[in-house]
Amino acid sequence: MSEHCMHAQFTVNGETVDAQVPVRMHLVDYLRDELGLTGSHLGCEHGVCGACQVMVDGQVVRGCLTLAIQANGKQVQTIEGLTESRELQQLQAAFLEHNAFQCGFCSSGMLLTALEITKHHKKATREEIRELISGNYCRCTGYQAIVNAIESVLVKSTSKSGAKV
């Protein structure tokens, strides 16, 4: 079977991709195999584990359930880009400080979910954080260190914004 391709244009971490994209190829496969961005991982390839997460137009998506062609006209950000832009800096520091990872395979996806929490759920309780990260599988930690790390970033940002008021 020869590959059916379609033309697509999108950006990945700010760089333009202008290419013929196999229509059946998933976004995470395209990022890993064609662009060498191996920071997004393949855990289950059916949308449960969350290791493949990337951002498309600012929203976290499963890279294994999104076709590469669906990125046409959109902006894609990966763990590599979000590290470079320092958007994840505070969370990465908190994850290291709290030992909120072990093997690190889930971390790329987990950090992206955490970033969404810090953006859209600034007042999340521990229980709510647990619920919000329940789409990301971590086999190594007991999740508690991850909750602690995210909570610590929320507490810092709340106390900062609180000071302004």
């Binding site: 855990g43 449960v48 395979f105 190594c140 007991g142 999740y143």
Partner: protein, 796 residues
Amino acid sequence: MNAPHELPLQAEVVATQENYVGQSVPRSGAKKLLEGRGTYLDDLRLPRLVHVVYFRSPHAHAVIKQLDLSQARKQPGVVAVFDGHEVAKFCTPWVGVLGHLKGIRSAPQYAIAPERACWQGEAVAAIVAQTRRQAEDALDHVLVDWDLLPVVTDMEASLAGNVVIHPDLGDNKCFSRELITENFEAEFAKADVVVEKVYEFSRHTGVTNEPRGILADYNPAENLLTVYQGTQTPNMMQDIFSRHLGIPESNVRVICKDVGGSFGIKVHVYPDEMATAAISVMLKRPVKFSADRIESFLTDIHAREHKVKIKLACTHQGDIIAFDMNDLTGIGPYSVYPRTSGIEGNQVVNLTGGPYKHKHYKAKLDVVFTNKNVTCQYRAVGHPIAMAITEGIVDEAARKIGMDPAEFRRRNLIADDAYPYTFPSGVKFEKLSHHQCLDQLMTLMDYKGLRQEQANLRAKGIYRGIGLAAMIEVTNPSPAFYGVGGARISAQDGATIRLDPAGMVNVLVSVTEQGQGTEAVFTQIAATAVGVKVENVRVITGDTAITPYGGGTWASRGAGIGGEAVLQAGKVLRKHILDVAAAILKVESATLDLVNGVVVDKLSGQEQMPLSEVGRVAYFRPDTLPMNFQSELTVTRHYTPREYGFTFTNGIQASYVEVDTETGFVKLLKHWCVEDCGTIINPMLVDEQIRGGIVQGIGGAMFEECMYSEDGQLLNGSMADYLVPMAGEMPDMVIGHVQTPTKTSELGAKGVGEAGTAGAPGAVMNAINDALAPLNANVSVQPFTPQRVLAALGKI
């Protein structure tokens, strides 16, 4: 017991020396994993790389009448196709037995089954293509004519032997063991009270987030095989590739980059990985295999399918007299190579009743073949079974005589001053701390307060339960575990430590890193032993061409064995550095010390020179040193535990749950664990290691089950159908510690990787049954799904 500050990790008069052992230092070298810069197996790419996928048997037991690969060979991008006969010419079969498991048997197992598939998922053909997609596309063009054979999936049916999987063996028994202490029957008969119960455990699996993978790269010019593999045991695999592919051991190099979780899954020999290495030799080019999730569920080792009948005999006063247990376990069609599938059941025999001081014990074990995926050693090997049946029946006994379960345990746990102690199964404990752990747990969880809260809520129709589970855990195995049985698995580990010219300390260790923080704790030990800051230490693991020979990571042995080797090597390097500095300064080396990477005068503390100066002179200007002086700034040391068969750790866990008696759902409210892993090197890492272990134990107790149909079809081979613990269902966990360092090593670390998993299922089970007790309901089949809880309540 040594307090941590008494440990001789520092030279004398080093009050200013920073001791990293015992400190929660953030993991060195792990930041890359948070930035997407790790290198997991599937991230590797080599020139001329091709991809292999396997055609797997859709049947649990069937003979290959005809295998037609001709159409698959013609598909776009396909480089080669192979059947089992072709691969067998390059890779000899194996039999998973060990000499010290008397009578254990298995059948020869091939990299690719040449004639018969014995479980659904066993590989029967290989397709190699330029891309994985092309190889997977070609799978649809493999044609097989099967002759279906009778299937046996049930353990008891297997034992009965109406269907025999390997006719040459005569029946389905892989291994049996019986153990009975002297005068057992007479002593058992003296009991006032006997409680008896059957516990069942469903098979589950590791579900590492990163699936298994291997990239084999054969270079015919040098007859050199380089294997990149997500493995816990590079040297064991080096030996196995060498022997089964017929390549000299020194020509096989196994490299283990970052590993996305292992938990025992990645410590075994897998047929598809052996086949991939063989195919690389056959094609003389790099070949990669990366399992996808369904392949992981079908072929990653499963574990813990057991049915155990256990009896406890005790007095009216609550003194345990004896345990009597009978374990039946089903392991799939082959005993897994080279560690065997007899070890898990054997550990259940060794460890049942482990925390208690009874003198009498009887055990019987039957390990049988079935037509399901193979089972083998998975995190906490046998402990979750042994601890759950022990702690379950202990609670039954306490209930029967009307004694509080904590009090019952206090009465029966081995006294803290009774060591060294030989347990009825024959295992020896150097020094455990059950009572200290129990006391600390009672305080930590406010046991009395919690019991009060439970009683108050029960009056309101809310059913909460408290469950306790004392535990012991095997760690740091001596050669008695595998080596004496003929397995070429090293019980020894080594560390090579080197001062580089710029003053950095480079450490090579044979223990591997799977994310648990091995490299970080070695960094802390090395920094402390040498006398430098952690940021000046680099640790390298996982490369048989450069690291010392050793056993790798399994049985909670990394810190205790590898750590001791690092400590000893580091101490000698420190001395050698001071010898060089003394030669430069023309003083006695005894007058010098090394503190935070600076050579100082021992008495005044005055700085003499940085390590970069020691390195500069030693490496580039040794002409300025005395004629008869040779610096030795690379040191290797090894360590093997030998005094005891195992180092044992101990601890106790508690679970607090609420059972919804209408829906059968169990909510885990909180979990506690007090653990004694000896010297703690990094408390933050230890705590989350225990928590992760607890969650994995909870997974087996509450959610995880590889469900098979009667004809051997796996019914839930996706993560949507096979449930794993996610953050939302998990409770906060409180961890406490007692530290009883082992005196068999200077470091005193006993290991902690599996303790959480060992005790959690028993604690959760006991909590659920405590909640259900007023309703005269009781669960004993793991996982405790809502369906099973409702069935216990008689509601379905």
